[in-house]
């Protein structure tokens, strides 16, 4: 007969208060510890200056900018299409999603974001969801490794490899995909791509279940994550957190649901939200998000216009010579297409004067592009609202009170990428 044992778990506020009380009379000499910029747990080049009292952090000052390349300045000096490769290098764990975000922003400026061909919308959604899985897998693998669970890294990287293969099949590149174009895609997906995605979904669900059995109820994992780095609902909104970090704190906000773009309103999926806002909630939200992404992928595979092989020859690009490049055959045989090609390559897509902001639900959170155009093929000002930058600003609030050994856990659960943070 199975024995039932009760575990006493008070509510999170009481637990946190009790922990703070325990530490209250322990006040000693302060020590300053420099963590990073080159540190395995800071996932790139984040530097945090920690002030310690024994092993307890009393003050944390994150220092970013080590990967600053001036992407916003670069964007002002080139055409809209030329900037697409730079978006690969924002969130380099999910380049496909950044490509889609940027293309949609420029399309919004042009006023064509709702007129994209349906096949293009479905392919873009599939790219976004594959990118989401890929980014969460890396985040989870590195997070597990920082907390001592090295097996996870090997499991998640096996799955990520398959996504890289899919990206390569679609765009020709594994990392620097640059798959989208203004008004469409670089090219249609190859005929056997959908079958490969289906196979990936089947295999991935098994692998994810294995990761779950290794972590979710693992005593060490739960003890290290629970009540560490608690972000309350109000604090998350106040600090402008976005993505899984905002939802982990219990805020029901997902741009795919609340401001639907592409074909997300035709998709059935749930938004997981946390209850406490600690590292464990953020971990659970990401786990569930990956499962929901697979659900979206399966629906896309079912509904994709033109079918898997596109025998119906559904277009993937907007049929407007002033926005997308004409086919090479036509360029070489027709005067009008030749002129369009020449103008698009030399001057860029002619955007109307105006300003737009487009926020995209990227794996790390809301990746927003603000574009100010004075007309012509070059943005006057392009601002990238990067989720990692905003998410990291909460560190100086969350880290004080944690132990030094909690820093990798908090960083891993916030899941940032410095290429995007520093731009």
């Amino acid at each position: 007969m199975a024995t039932v044992q009760d575990i006493e778990i008070h509510d999170s506020a009481a637990r946190t208060a009790a922990a703070a009380e325990e530490l209250q009379d322990v006040q000693g000499e302060r020590m300053v510890l420099n963590m990073g910029p080159s540190h395995p747990a800071t996932h790139g080049v984040l530097r945090i200056v920690l002030e310690l009292d024994g092993e307890v952090i009393t003050k944390a000052d994150p220092d970013v900018g080590y990967l600053h390349r001036g992407d916003e300045k670069i964007a002002e000096n080139m055409t809209y299409t030329q900037f697409i490769p730079y978006t690969d290098r924002l969130d380099y764990l999910a380049p496909l999603a950044s490509n889609v975000a940027y293309a949609l922003a420029v399309e919004k400026l042009l006023g064509i974001h709702e007129k994209l061909p349906p096949r293009c919308q479905y392919i873009r959604v599939m790219c976004c969801e594959l990118a989401r899985i890929s980014a969460h897998l890396l985040g989870l693998g590195a997070f597990g490794m920082d907390a001592g669970a090295i097996t996870i890294f090997l499991l998640t990287f096996t799955e990520r490899e398959k996504i890289y293969n899919l990206a390569e099949a679609a765009s020709g590149a594994r990392l620097t995909t640059s798959y989208t174009r203004i008004g469409g895609l670089m090219r249609d997906i190859p005929p056997n791509w959908c079958a490969q995605v289906k196979q990936f979904c089947d295999e991935f669900e098994v692998a994810l279940a294995e990761v779950e059995t290794l972590l979710t109820r693992n005593r060490i994992w739960v003890d290290r994550l629970r009540d560490v780095g608690v972000v309350s609902k109000e604090m998350a909104i106040d600090y402008g957190l976005s993505g899984p970090n905002l939802r982990g704190s219990g805020v029901d906000w997902d741009l795919r649901k609340h401001q639907p773009y592409l074909c997300y309103q035709d998709m059935e999926f749930d938004i997981p939200i946390g209850s406490v806002g600690d590292s464990y909630d953020r971990y659970m939200v990401r786990q569930e998000e990956m499962r929901q992404s697979v659900r979206i992928l399966r629906q896309c595979l079912q509904k994709i216009p033109g079918g898997w092989g596109n025998e119906a020859k559904e277009p993937v690009n907007i049929a407007d010579g002033k926005i997308t490049l004409p086919s090479k055959q036509k360029v070489l045989s027709s005067m009008e297409e030749l002129i369009h090609q020449f103008m698009l390559v030399t001057e860029g897509v002619n955007c109307p004067p105006g300003e737009i902001y487009f926020g995209h639900e990227n794996p790390k959170g809301e990746l927003g592009f603000y574009i100010n155009s004075k007309g012509g093929g070059t943005p006057y000002r392009l601002k990238i609202r990067s989720p990692s930058f905003v998410n990291l600003s909460i560190l100086s609030e969350v880290l004080p009170g944690c132990m030094v050994s909690d820093v990798p856990v908090v960083l891993g659960s916030l899941d940032f990428v410095m290429g995007e943070c520093d731009r």
Partner: protein
């Protein structure tokens, strides 16, 4: 409540200070006449539900007066409406009140604008550079800061003083020439000072 209704509510409260809501691609933009009032308007906006500050951006209108435009992108998480507030700041002043007491996310956004454009935020407790390093003398997102290697008609004011890392791979040299000539990577070996690489050539 739609974004337009909220914008009109702000207009009704502050009167002539706020322009008529402008709409482009179904986004609402409000222009504020007096930059000093930005704090009051933002606190009022937060009071009517705009609890989420998405972003703060600045634009350099080089050659125009006032030179700077600062934009605040607000959102109400409750009902998903959003709108934008726009203020102009003159170059002589280059200072506006900080909205940090209203939304703490403004902290890093304001530091970034100070770093990139040189606009100061009055009342910000920790206005340091964030992406560039402490002591860097320029504000790189200004329009008169040319991109290395790109021909420009703008005067070379950005590099009148010696820049850190001068002669490095991405830093132009100070001179009266245009930025193509100042680009270290395009110098022909004859003009270059004899260095290790030249000796190796011989």
């Amino acid at each position: 409540m739609t974004a337009l209704e909220s914008a009109n509510q702000i207009k009704a409260r502050f009167g002539d200070l706020v322009s008529e809501p402008a709409e482009f691609r179904s986004e609402i933009t409000l222009k504020i006449a007096d930059a000093e009032k930005i704090f009051d308007i933002c606190s009022f906006a937060k009071g009517i539900g705009f609890d989420y500050l998405v972003d703060i951006t600045s634009i350099d209108n080089y050659g125009e007066d006032p030179r700077w435009t600062v934009l605040y992108h607000l959102r109400a998480i409750g009902n998903g409406t959003e709108f934008r507030i726009k203020i102009d700041v003159s170059e002589e002043k280059s200072e506006i009140p900080s909205v940090l007491p209203i939304w703490r996310t403004a902290n890093w956004h304001e530091r970034e604008i100070y770093d990139m454009m040189g606009i100061r935020f009055r009342g910000h407790p920790d206005l340091r550079r964030i992406l560039m390093w402490e002591g860097y003398p320029h504000h790189p997102l200004r329009k008169d800061f040319p991109l290395a290697g790109k021909p420009t008609e703008l005067p070379g004011v950005a590099f009148t003083r010696v820049t850190p890392m001068e002669g490095g791979p991405f830093v132009t040299l100070p001179s009266s020439g245009d930025s193509i000539e100042r680009e270290p990577r395009v110098r022909v070996p004859e003009q270059a000072e004899p260095g290790i690489s030249d000796k190796r050539l011989k």
